[in-house]
Amino acid sequence: MKNIDRQRWAQIKSVFEKAQELKLESRASFLAQACGDDAARRSEVEALLDHDRRAGSFLDGNAASEIGVAMASASRLAFSPGEVLSGRFRIVQLLGRGGMGDVYETKDLELDRLVALKFLPHDLAQHPRALTRLKREARAASALNHPNICTLHDIDVHNGQTYLVMEYLEGTTLRERIGVGAVREPPLPLDTTLDLAIQIADGLDAAHSKGIIHRDLKPENIFATTRGHAKILDFGLAKLMQEEAGSARPVNGAERIADPGDAPTLSVDAARLTRPGAIMGTTAYMSPEQIRGDILDVRTDLFSFGLVLYEMATGRQAFSGSTAAVIHDAILNQVPPSPTHLNPQLPAMLGEIIRKALEKDRETRYQHASEMRADLVRLRHGPNRKHDGVLPAAVAPEPAREAGKAGVRRHRKLMATAGALLLAGLIAGAFVHFHHAFALTSKDTVILADFTNRTGEPLFDDTLKQGLEVALRESPFLSVLPDNRVAATLKLMELPEGTAVTGEVAREVCQRSGSRVYVAGSIAALGNRYVLGLKALACATAETLAEEQATAGKDNVIDVLGREASKLRKDLGESLSSVEQYDTSLKQATTSSLEALKAYSVARKIMLKRGSAGALPYFQRAVEIDSTFASAYASVGVHSVNLGQLERAREYFTKAYSLREHTSEWEKLDITALYHNWVTGDLRKADEIYQQWTDIYPRDDPPYSHLADDRMKFGDYAACVDLERRGLGLNPDSVIDIENLGWCLMGLGRMDEAQHTFQEALSRKMDDDWLREGLYAVAFVAGDAKGMESEAAWFEGRPDFKFEILFYQADAEAFGGHLRRARELTKRAVDSAARASNLEGAAACRIQAARREAALRNVAEARRETNEALRLAPNSPSVEAQAALINAWAGNEAGARRLEAELKKRHPQDTLINSYWLPTVDARLELARGNSAGALESLQTVSSPLDLGSPLEDQPNVCLDPVYTRGDAYLAAGQGGPAANEFQRILDHPGLVLNCTTGALAHLGLARAYALSGNTAKARAAYKDFLTLWKDADPDVPILKQAKAEYAKLQ
């Protein structure tokens, strides 16, 4: 449509503008009415509307910025001699200007050597990911440390300009040796050609054997030093530059097989592909498969090498033409003039080698650089260097070979066949893939990319992705890769946390994490409305599998997003009934407030970076904005638990529970289970919910993690290990699960495995207080004082966690009978927790100290600490339960009874209080009254393995109170044998008891039990164990004096 008359333009304009303001669905009827039978006008307007939608970011930037950047980089490129870069590299002179960028001879002042600095186009510096990949690939090649590969020392950035620090070479590139265009040097002497070619083949062979493909081999990239060495330059650059220029095709997994050292290739966004005139690498040296955009393997380099060799031998390019299209056509379809025809001096064998390298079908080409090298060497050193020469071995027809070489040949053939079969398999796979409907299986996970927000309204950043996640996670059919795994994958890709997971990055995350599909969303403003788009793409091919688009007003963006997500689920193959069954309206499931959702999503993001403490205020902000936002309440609860603020956690869990109907299915399960776990304490109910959760969403890992946690509470450590392993199978990067697995293994006494587990977490750059305490515990059991010290050192400068280790160290001191030091450390722990405003933490320190004192029979001290603890945490059921026990133990029956009554009244459904703590308290009370039979009866409900359970979340060591109490009861009942059994059980679980005082005193209990049953020898041994453990204990501890007296009596 050119130069249409003004009136017609005005008509089209008017209809377009009106249609444009309408909703998509009402446009058609409007157009029909507005254009009447003027079909041309209608189709013109429709075309415009269509292009308006498809225009994407077309003309979004501004050309001025292009020139600004271009000019800036032009200025930056000009370095003058003497200038020093990065405080280290002094420019000596400009060596040349490559297609890639300028090269300078430079003095490395630090290492006092000459290096070459090669600057890359400015674009690259703005793509940190590309830069990282470049570094990786270039380093991989350079790590080969091969004499024929130019060594890359470093890659750095100066004023936004990326530069490579390379080995400084004296000489010229092959391009300069051969000449360009019409200006040709005479062909290189044959010996020189062969010498250089053999070296090039050698360099290629070394790189190929490591799976590194050059992809852009050409005379410009091969350097001939003045000493006659060939050096291949720029390994790893070609692929990257192509991607930057937007010409790379999406490549599926096959290339990764051919190229194991390589990262999956990026996809290129559609805008770039459709941009006019996209450039295509170095046209004249591409292989046919490269032109076709096929999957590349090392053989592409052999074709390019053949072209270089052709040019070296003849002084002419094998394929030339004025446009890329002409050259491409020639490479694909034409046979170049025979080199021996152009240069009759050439030996026939060289012509054959070149011909074989230039086979268009790579299956009939040389398969390995080493083959080509062998033929070149044979030619160089053999007698037949003239045109009448024998055919080279690898190109010789079969009958000509000697029998003795058949073995080698067979071997090669096998290799080649294997390669071909593999390729055939891949092609078949691709065929199936493209020709059958894309179907997700139950093992497939989905990645959510960050939304592309074209509205300029930051409110939509993260918010929509968060909403989409909630919506998609409701699907039992789709499994969305959890945040932490995305973060872990970004880390693997050497990208900083918080890197935008946009199309390309999302695709790589998707591929690396073994996911199948990624979902990319976008929002753009359309007048005063918004266009919301969702797109599901296959990770391997970037093929669009499903697409949804709708418009929304600001007040119903979330709602519309939810509806689109449901449609996308159907598009991706979820059954209609499943979509209908699990389809809470998103507005209801999350919040109708964009602001609240924004705060929530920011919190989630911060959580990954700065943990619970950082995220908590944002979750709180979310509930302040929308007081009906159930999931946000639950999150405040969860992170309060993580910070040891259980009282607040219970308050928020209760609130979330009361709003649970306003959530999606999985959130409802989550909230209900959290409520039972933390508020009612009804673990059996919580377990039922988790079980239900795994039934509906078998690929979600959180329920496994929770179930495992509960198994630990019930003392079933084997089940815990099993469940954690299943959870980790679903989410291998969950640090909490790795830690808990370690603790469960300790519960089973498998200390080496536990240590290995913790160490593995550390090696994967996961680190936190719980992990460090685990390693401390492992070191404690191993008697490794140095290890304990070094783990304790981690807590220095971490004021939030410092009290944990102090209080743990206090226990360790008390374990050795150093009560004074234990008390001192307790005091420091309490102070430290108080300074961090963690009153519950301080209470935990105090109640643990009280238990210690009670066990050591320092009754007054025990009661004092108990009262302090209760004062610090007046509403904590676990503190109250322990306080009841200690009061009973320390003879404060009234206090114990009062607390018991309180607990019964307030926590009637709490599993641990009712089946673990209260029976143990009762037993202590009965013992205090001298009723050992009553005590034993009471403890019958706390049977094995519950009596080995870990009831306290905030305490690493498990004091095994029911077992210890039962031992005391048997002693009181005069039953030495059963008493010994109980104390022995404590001693048999060092990975559980760790440094709890009962662990030390169990030796004494065992001694007394044996003494009681008349087994003097064993009693003596047990006393000795105890006295050895306490050999340098504070001498004035009453229980030590008692033990010594008892031991002396036994002598």
Binding site: K2, N3, I4, R6, W9, K13, F16, E17, Q20, A47, L48, L49, H51, D52, R54, A55, F58, L59, G61, N62, A63, A64, S65, E66, I67, G68, V69, A70, M71, A72, S73, A74, S75, R76, L77, A78, R97, P121, H122, D123, V157, N159, G160, V180, G181, A182, V183, A245, G246, T274, R275, P276, G277, A278, I279
Partner: protein
């Protein structure tokens, strides 16, 4: 730098459609832009990004500096600036394109070796072509594209220059963009 009065005169003549003034102005403006870019970098060696719009504005203000360009109100200034920017960029792309194609060994002088990639050049030339056709249908839409895309003006600034509402600018821009997209994707 040329005398301010000469540039002022050239600008005035350019505004009146004097093609010769245009051809004499271009190297002056271009040179000034480049000088600015370099001065800017010399001042701050840190890794910063130039604000291109600021750069262009500053260049023009410098060109007009000293004289009393009474005609140079804000609207005129933007109109001239955006037209010049289009010409500079397209001109550059054209030369770059030509140089690339005809290149065989000879080197582009350092000053000209702006790192325009081929696709950018080609895209810019195609856009320039389409813009020419758009101007014949709708002069105002063409102006808007020039101001928005080539000089980086905001919708509000354009509205001020054209003395219309920002809403109108947006509407015109939407259609112009759709039309250009259609033309270029053919």
């Amino acid at each position: 730098m040329k005398e301010a009065s000469e540039i002022t005169q050239l600008l005035a003549r350019f505004r009146l459609g004097d093609r010769e003034a245009e051809s004499r102005l271009l190297p002056l403006v271009y040179g000034e832009l480049r000088r600015q870019a370099r001065a800017c970098l010399a001042r701050e060696r840190s890794d910063h990004t130039l604000s291109p719009t600021a750069l262009v504005h500053e260049a023009f203000l410098r060109l007009a500096e000293g004289g009393q360009p009474a005609w140079l109100d804000r609207a005129h200034f933007f109109a001239v600036a955006s037209r010049l920017m289009r010409q500079i960029l397209v001109d550059h792309a054209r030369r770059h394109h030509a140089a690339k194609r005809g290149r065989s060994g000879e080197r582009i002088p350092l000053e000209e070796a702006l790192t325009f990639s081929n696709d950018k050049s080609a895209g810019l030339l195609a856009l320039d072509d389409a813009l020419g056709r758009l101007a014949q249908n709708d002069e105002r839409q063409c102006r808007i594209v020039e101001m928005k895309f080539f000089a980086g003006l905001s919708v509000e600034e354009i509205a001020e220059v054209l003395r219309v509402s920002p809403r109108t600018v947006k509407r015109e821009w939407t259609m112009a963009r759709a039309w250009l997209h259609k033309e270029i994707s053919r």
